[in-house]
């Protein structure tokens, strides 16, 4: 099978960001929080590849650690939200009746709270922190995945091979495990990559507002909010973190598109019409 361009580019960008995040665990060019006020606003050089910020901290090291934070938030939050949401969606589709009705009404309720709003509410009550961001994004992902997986699962439940499994005497749990889950994996994975992208954006926005990562823990969003006050003095500081966000989000979003293109037969038949 020919690999579509968007899939290849998306996978490459995601791999790049993940690699940087992983490397930051064991190595950064400089300690990311090391101050060197004498050397503030340094231009790019062999020592500081992208220069330093207003406190003389190395920009590359900060961006690398921020990548780690961003990825950790996205993976944890979307992972939790996907696991719980998909579980509920499978349950709703398998049980039907009032169970399904209740799960879907609850997920409707979840849609009344955009992730940003919910995170702001949590931050107001519990104080700003990265774990709260994870909880908020995970929570908001539950109804999304419940809906996606229920819709896909209901389609699979109507297929003749599921009727055949029922005719064979398989129970609802066994059918969910053997037939439903493998056949809804594609849309769920596509949704995951999209939600990764959304999670990175939400984390950045919250950190920008000061409701996410707290100093000295670096975050692309917070680096941008600090750069904003220095925009006349050092506009270059407002460029790099933004480019990092765009790279990560673009990567996941292209990856999701590419995966959808190769798994959703409806879209690949466009030309036949």
């Amino acid at each position: 099978m020919r690999v579509p361009f968007n899939l290849a580019l998306g996978a490459a960008l995601v791999a790049l960001v993940l690699a940087v995040a992983l490397v930051s665990l064991v190595w950064t060019p400089h300690p990311h929080a090391a101050l060197d006020v004498a050397n503030k606003f340094a231009p790019p050089s062999a020592v500081h590849w992208l220069g330093t910020d207003q406190l003389g901290r190395d920009l590359v090291s900060q961006l690398m650690v921020a990548a780690r934070n961003s990825m950790a938030v996205a993976v944890l939050a979307v992972g939790i939200g996907c696991a719980l949401g998909t579980g509920l969606g499978l349950l709703a589709a398998a049980r039907g009746g009032w169970t399904e009705e209740a799960i879907m009404r609850l997920s409707d309720l979840g849609f009344a709270f955009p992730a940003l709003l919910f995170a702001i509410m949590l931050a107001a009550v519990f104080g700003p922190s990265l774990p709260n961001v994870v909880i908020a994004i995970a929570f908001i992902n539950i109804p999304t995945f419940a809906r996606v997986s229920r819709a896909a699962a209901n389609q699979v439940w109507r297929r003749d091979y599921v009727w055949a499994a029922r005719a064979a005497g398989m129970g609802r749990f066994a059918i969910s495990r053997d037939h439903i889950l493998p056949n809804i994996a594609a849309p769920v994975i596509v949704q995951m990559t999209i939600e990764f992208a959304v999670a990175i954006l939400v984390e950045a926005a919250l950190s920008y507002l000061g409701l996410g990562a707290q100093p000295p823990n670096p975050s692309w969003g917070r680096m941008l909010s600090e750069a904003q006050t220095l925009m006349y003095l050092a506009p270059q500081l407002a460029i790099w973190p933004g480019l990092c966000i765009v790279t990560a989000v673009l990567g996941f979003s292209l990856l999701g598109d590419g995966l959808r293109d190769i798994t959703d037969p409806r879209l690949t038949r466009v030309r036949a019409a």
């Binding site: 297929r159 029922r166 005719a167 064979a168 005497g169 398989m170 129970g171 066994a174 056949n183």
Partner: protein
């Protein structure tokens, strides 16, 4: 000897409400249908879409409960059985579906799908020899067990679906429009296969179709349904030679070359 006795069964569905104050409309899909099916016999059910023939198949398969009447299999009403016992009893009645492209899980190998009814019985024996035997009975090779459904044509997939249905050596096979999606040249092969298996295994077949010609050439007796009711029933030859109903005459006219 009677294998299946369907005793004035009815099935009603509530349709979505159209207005706030009026009660939800009710569709009577099957309305007081009775028939019997003996071991080794083939009964054809003909009717158009909405005639209730597919609902009848689901009632016989125990996928749905009748609102009235009883479905007795070997004298036992499946709806009296607890869920686990019903699942175990399913080995005696199996089903073949219409769409050969939808009746096999695309992500599972053929052997896995064919063995599914054995797994449902939670037996300890190795299913592989039984799978090989079933595949050979339907004119495929044992080696096909390792392939995926997309590697087969529509007719071959329908053979695989039949292999799955006979692997537990059932007494009854419900074939719901089992050849309707196939090309004429393949359809004849599958019909012949069903008749061969019937003789070999002593199967009773409940053969559901919209196509009178198909039913006529495969069934001992037939049942003409419309709007959930049985219009007429009898020996195939008797019904075809002296149709007792205008609708049956229309079906005959549509099938005549």
């Amino acid at each position: 000897m009677t294998l299946l006795q369907v005793d004035s069964v009815s099935r009603r569905y509530r349709l979505p409400r159209r207005a706030l104050m009026r009660p939800a409309p009710v569709l009577t899909a099957v309305d007081g249908v009775s028939f019997t099916l003996a071991r080794g016999e083939t009964l054809g059910v003909v009717g158009e879409s909405g005639s209730g023939k597919s609902t009848l198949a689901r009632l016989v398969m125990g996928f749905e409960r009748p609102d009235a009447g009883r479905v007795l299999f070997d004298g036992q009403d499946n709806n009296d059985l607890p869920p686990a016992a019903l699942r175990a009893a399913r080995r005696r009645f199996q089903m073949v579906f219409q769409d050969p492209f939808g009746s096999l899980d695309p992500r599972r190998r053929v052997g896995w799908s064919v063995a599914e009814p054995l797994r449902a019985l939670k037996g300890t024996e190795d299913p592989a020899p039984r799978v090989a035997e079933a595949l050979e009975q339907v004119g495929l090779r044992a080696a096909h067990a390792g392939r995926y459904p997309h590697e087969f044509s529509g007719g071959q997939r329908q053979r695989i679906a039949i292999a799955r249905a006979i692997i537990t050596r059932p007494a009854l096979l419900v074939a719901d429009e089992a050849v309707s999606a196939l090309d004429v040249s393949v359809q004849a092969q599958i019909l012949n296969l069903l008749m061969d298996l019937q003789e070999e295994l002593g199967l009773a077949i409940l053969f559901i179709s919209h196509d009178l010609a198909v039913v006529a050439s495969t069934c001992d007796r037939l049942l003409v349904m419309q709007g959930g009711r049985v219009l007429e029933a009898g020996e195939t030859g008797a019904v075809l030679d002296a149709p007792g109903h205008d609708y049956t005459r229309t079906l005959l006219a549509a099938a005549r070359l």
